[in-house]
Symmetry: C2
C-alpha cells in the first residue's frame, strides 16, 4: 500500500460503512433484533455482504433477496434533493442514548434494536438537539383541554431550553410542537415514514415551519417509505429512547402513547402522565398509568423538569480514566447502589430501608442501575451484578461502620 492509500482508506471505509447502513435500512424494517446483533457482531459492511450473498441468517437472507431490486442509489439521490442527511452511529452527531434500545431489545427479546441510521432534515446537530429533550405525546383525538395543556408544556419546556420531541400527529403531538415553536425553542418530529412524506398531510405547513425555525424532522425509514400502522409502535420506541423522559398528556385506555411510556420506563427514562377530568375518555390512559404506579402524575413544566432533571443527574457523563461507573451516579442513586447486597437478592423495600431513602426513589433508580449493569434483577429482587463486585469497587465502598 502507498501512503496515499493510507490517507484515503479511513474515508473510503467511512463511506462504505455509511452506504452499507443505508442499504440495510432500505432492505429491512427498523428495530430487528437479529439484524442488530449481526451488525453489532460483524459491522454493517460485512453484515450487508452476508445477507446479500446468502451466507447470513436464513430469515434475513430471504428478505434481502425479495427486496434486492430496491435501488439504493436512487433513494440516496432522493434524500439529497430533500436536503435530508443520513446520520449514522459512527458520526459525531449520533444520539448515543439510542444504544439503550440494545438492552431493552435483548432483555425482552423484541425488535426494539437501535436504528441503523437516521434520515434527518433540519439544521441542528442531532446529538445536541436531543441531549436535553422531553417527549410529549398523546391522543390524536385530543380534547381542547389536552391540546391546551400540551401546548403549554411544549412552550414551557422550550422556554427553559429543553427540546420537545413528538410524533408530528394531530392533537397532542402537534400542540406540543407548536408550543415549542411559539417559545422559539427546538422541536423534533420523529416520523413513522420517510422524511419526504408529510403525514398527516394537513401538517405540511407545521413540518416546514419546524425545519425553517431550527427544528428537526427525523426518521429511520428511507425517503419514499409511506407510514404503516405497524410502524408507529416501532417509531415510538425511538421517541422514548432519544429523550430523557416521556409525558403523556391525553391517551385512551388503548393507545400508542402508553406504549411509548412503557418503552421509556424500560430504559429508565422518566415516565409521566398529566391527569384530566375523570369524565373524559381521553384521560383514561393517563389515569391508568398513575393508578398502576407506572407513571408519575405531573401537572406542569416544573414537575416535569423535576423528574427529567433527576434522571439527568443519574445519566451524568461517565468520567473517563480510572473512574468507576458509579462515579457517574447522582448522590441518591449512589446511596441506593450502596444498599444493594452482593449476595442474596433483596426487595426494593429492603433497599429503601437500608438506604434510608423513599421507596419511590429506589423504584425510580433501579432500572438505571440494572441497565447500567451494576445490579441484577430476578423477579423484582435485586443484588449487585457479578461484574460490579470487583475488588476495586469494593475497596472504594466504605464499610457500613464507617458511614
Amino acid at each position: 500500500m502507498t501512503a496515499g492509500q493510507h490517507v484515503s482508506a479511513p474515508d473510503e471505509s467511512g463511506r462504505e460503512t455509511r452506504r452499507a447502513r443505508v442499504a440495510l435500512a432500505c432492505l429491512f424494517e427498523p428495530g430487528r433484533l437479529d439484524l442488530g446483533e449481526l451488525v453489532a457482531e460483524l459491522g454493517p459492511v460485512e453484515a450487508l455482504a452476508r445477507v446479500r450473498d446468502g451466507s447470513g441468517p436464513d430469515r434475513l437472507c430471504r428478505i434481502a433477496q425479495v427486496r434486492a431490486g430496491r435501488d439504493i442509489g436512487r433513494i440516496e439521490e432522493h434524500a439529497g434533493r430533500l436536503d435530508a442527511r443520513v446520520v449514522i452511529p459512527e458520526d459525531d452527531e449520533w444520539p448515543d442514548q439510542t444504544a439503550d434500545l440494545v438492552r431493552l431489545s435483548r432483555r425482552h427479546h423484541v425488535d426494539y434494536f437501535p436504528p441503523l441510521c437516521l434520515w434527518v432534515r433540519g439544521e441542528p446537530r442531532l446529538d445536541e438537539a436531543l441531549a436535553r429533550s422531553v417527549a410529549v405525546v398523546g391522543a390524536r383525538a385530543a380534547t381542547e383541554y389536552g391540546a391546551h395543556v400540551a401546548s403549554e408544556i411544549g412552550f414551557g419546556l422550550a422556554d427553559r431550553g429543553w427540546s420537545v420531541v413528538s410524533g408530528g400527529a394531530y392533537g397532542i403531538d402537534a400542540a406540543a410542537h407548536r408550543g415549542a415553536l411559539a417559545a422559539g425553542g427546538v422541536t423534533a418530529a420523529v416520523f413513522a415514514c420517510g422524511v419526504d412524506h408529510a403525514y398527516p398531510v394537513g401538517h405540511v405547513g407545521l413540518f416546514e415551519r419546524i425545519v425553517d425555525e431550527g427544528g428537526l424532522l427525523v426518521s429511520e425509514w428511507p425517503p419514499g417509505v409511506t407510514p404503516g400502522r405497524h410502524r408507529f409502535l416501532v417509531r415510538n420506541r425511538l421517541i422514548a429512547a432519544v429523550t430523557r423522559g416521556t409525558v403523556v398528556v391525553e391517551a385512551a385506555a388503548r393507545s400508542g402513547s402508553r406504549a411509548t411510556l412503557h418503552r421509556a420506563r424500560g430504559m429508565g427514562r422518566a415516565v409521566m402522565a398529566v391527569p384530566g377530568p375523570v369524565t373524559s375518555a381521553m384521560s383514561v390512559g393517563a389515569h391508568l398509568e398513575v393508578r398502576e404506579e407506572r407513571a408519575r402524575l405531573v401537572t406542569g413544566v416544573a414537575e416535569i423538569l423535576e423528574e427529567v432533571g433527576r434522571i439527568g443527574d443519574d445519566l451524568a457523563p461517565v468520567p473517563r480514566g480510572g473512574a468507576q461507573p458509579r462515579d457517574a451516579l447522582g448522590p441518591q442513586a449512589a446511596q441506593v447502589l450502596d444498599a444493594v447486597p452482593a449476595a442474596g437478592y433483596v426487595t426494593a423495600e429492603q433497599i429503601a430501608s437500608q438506604a434510608g431513602v423513599p421507596i419511590s426513589d429506589v423504584l425510580r433508580t433501579m432500572p438505571l442501575l440494572v441497565l447500567a449493569g451494576m445490579v441484577e434483577e430476578v423477579d423484582g429482587r435485586f443484588r449487585l451484578a457479578a461484574a460490579h463486585q470487583a475488588p476495586t469497587s469494593a475497596a472504594h465502598r466504605p464499610t457500613p461502620e464507617l458511614r
Copy 2:
C-alpha cells in the same frame, strides 16, 4: 340491698353515665386527649365528679369552673324537642370504629380523641348506617366538574348499598349528599355545630330532606353550639374515623379536605383522590395527594369500592373466645397487621401506606407476623394467612387500647 335495687341499678347507672357524658360534652370541646384519658381511666361519672370538685387535672378543672353555669338540663330538653337523640359508646348503636381515634390521638399527642357522645337526628341506627360508608369531601368553591363527579360518586356508592358521609357544606359535600339521596341511599351529614343549626343556612332544605329520607345528621357538639372555624378540623377527624375510606373530589392546595384525608390515612382507612384538569386550582390538592403518594388516584365508584373493599376485609374480624395471637402484639404491630389484606398480596410499601406507619417499621414487623403464622409471604408480598381470616362482625372488635 333488695331485689328491686338490683334490677333498677343498671338502669340508674346507665342514666348516670349518659348524663355524665352529656355534661362533659357540654363543658369541653370535643377531642381533648387529657379528658379522653381521664374518662378512659375513671369512667365518665367519676371523671365528671373530679373536674367539677377540683380534684381532677388542673386545666380541666379550670375550664369546668368557667363553664359551670351551663344548664345541661336545658340542653337536653332542647335536644328532645328536636327529636335528636344522644348516642353514647355504651349504646348498641355506637360506631365502634371511632375508637381508632384513640390511637391517632395518642400517637401524635393531639386532641383527636373519640367523641364523648353524639347528638343524632334521623331514623337509622348509627352503627348500621356507618358500617359500610365512604366519606366524599372537597371544596366548597367546587367547579361544575367537581360537583358533577361528587354527585355521580354519591349516587353510585348509595346505589351499591354504601352510605355517603360528608360535612353538609356547599360544593362537593352537598353534591355527594344529593347524589346519595337521588339513589335512595343513606347519607350522613356530620356537623361542626349543634344538630339544631343548619349550617350553611342555604342547606336547611337539604338537611330536612336527609332526615326525612332515611339519612342522619350527626354532631359531637350539643344543640345550641354555633359552627366555629376551629371546629371544622375537629369534625373532619370524625368523618375520617366513621368511614372506611375518604375520597377527596376537589381541593385547593390548602384545604380542610386534605386534613380529612390525612386523618383517614392515620387510621389505616382508604385514602383516595379524584384527579381533574391541571388547569383548575380546585384540583391542585387532589393532585398533590397523588403525587406525594399519599392518596390513590380514583376515577369512579368501581375504583373506590376496590379500595374500601380491601379495607373492609382488613377490618375483618378477629374471632372472640380464647386469647388470640394478635393480643400479644404491640400496638404498632397490630396496626401493621390490620393493614394486611385478606385477599390479594401487597407489598410492604402498600402496607406501610395503608397502616400509616413508616416502611421501616413494617419491614421490621413482617418477619414476626410471618413467623407467627398470621401473614403469608410470597416473593416479598404479603396477605393475611388463611387461618387468620375468621368471620365475626367488625363492629365487635375492640381496639387494642380498649382491651
